[in-house]
């Protein structure tokens, strides 16, 4: 239990640090590389749908706290994505590289569209796509997943094995 808590805390802090570094380099990076989605997908694939949903809520609320918009929109879209990713990955084999890449891409694409739908529905205003950069998010974040997931795994291994 303690190990799980530590694992979640450490990977979450790592995600925020990575997000902050990317934002410092360029604001467009924070749009095309959604680190919080990776955090959700990592836990969904590793631990299942409940972890995916819980991390979706947490990741979404953290993301919303970094923006002036309505607090909770990203939380809903990420919760649903986390749950679905965990649920589907238990029923189909997503371990092979290409299949995993396609699976992650589809999940990220669904999340972006769900977020856009919720944003338009709740706020009733046009959302900012940064001249279309936002639509590159699923592709770029999928590529980043193959760099970040091994790092998340290494971080988890560093933690004590029992507890």
């Amino acid at each position: 239990m303690l190990r799980h808590f530590l694992k979640i805390s450490v990977t979450t802090i790592f995600a925020i640090v990575l997000f902050s570094v990317l934002t410092k380099i360029s604001h467009e990076f924070s749009l095309v590389l959604n680190v919080f989605n990776l955090l959700v997908l990592y836990f969904a694939l590793e631990e299942g749908e409940i972890y995916g949903a819980v991390m979706g809520s947490a990741g979404g609320l953290i993301q919303d706290s970094f923006s002036i918009g309505v607090f909770g929109i990203a939380g809903i879209s990420k919760t649903i994505m986390g749950f679905l990713a965990g649920y589907i990955s238990r029923r189909i084999n997503v371990v092979p590289l290409v299949r995993r890449a396609v699976f992650i891409f589809v999940m990220l694409l669904s999340e972006v569209f769900l977020w856009m739908f919720l944003y338009s529905f709740v706020i009733s205003e046009e959302f900012y796509t940064a001249k279309g950069w936002l639509f590159l998010q699923p592709v770029c974040t999928t590529v980043l997943a193959f760099i970040v997931f091994p790092l998340f795994k290494k971080l988890a291994k560093v933690l004590p094995q029992h507890g």
């Binding site: 934002t23 924070s30 919303d64 706290s65 970094f66 002036i68 309505v70 909770g72 749950f83 900012y128």
Partner: protein, 277 residues
Amino acid sequence: MPSFLKKKKNLVVLFCLIFFQLILLSIQTPLGSESTLFEKTVFSIFSPIQNGVSSIIRGIGNLWKGYFSLRGVHKENKDIKEEVFFLRLENRLIRGLLDRSNKEAELKEILENIRESIVYTRVIEIDLTNKYKSVVINRGLFDGIEKDMIVLDKLGQLVGRVIGPIGPKEARVQLITDSESGTSVHNQKDILGVVNGNDEGMCILKYIEGTESGVDIGDILITSGFDHIYPPGIPVGKIVMLETTDELFKSILVQPFFKLRSLDQLAVIKINPNEIF
């Protein structure tokens, strides 16, 4: 727990989480622009991490510069820049005062406090959803920052105002380029209007009637003070496009003076503007 709930435990968790967030969303509606306690808490917990990362990156950058360039010159340059920063802002505020005050003793008393009212700050984060909406600064409750304090750039031009949430060492600033922001302004001919952001880095000057002839391209807009948020006399932007259509009001595009790319140094004015202007 009933057996059907046990069987569908995962779905129950999912619906509970979504329900919790729907409650969060509905709580915000009556609050308007106010942040919920939960949002303030999340902001206060996670923004210090960003502040820390920002400080480390800046520190590494400074170390690099300091080590490889002439250290003495670099330090001197930094000191002068800081001095110029304060002098410009003081000058801006003093000019505003001189225009409005004629009591020498009163003026002297205010001038003594004016420097203490300027809080030097840096941007640690730009809004994730839209960079033209808000920024987070590395000053907060511990530095005496409060809601609605005005924020200027290093040239004394209007950037925005402090809104919630305000953490111990961080605060969110709404930029004038945010579509939710509204600033009462006037031009050189005292024609009044309201400037709203367009979420794309520009502003729109509203409520100028189609028949109004006192507004033209190139006009400088300054705050009028009628919104009771921004004090009068602060430069806001310049009219870059003007169209008269069939509609009641003109369509006017304003280029704000502040540049998002050069928001490295900002000033929060702590003193209540209505007290000094």
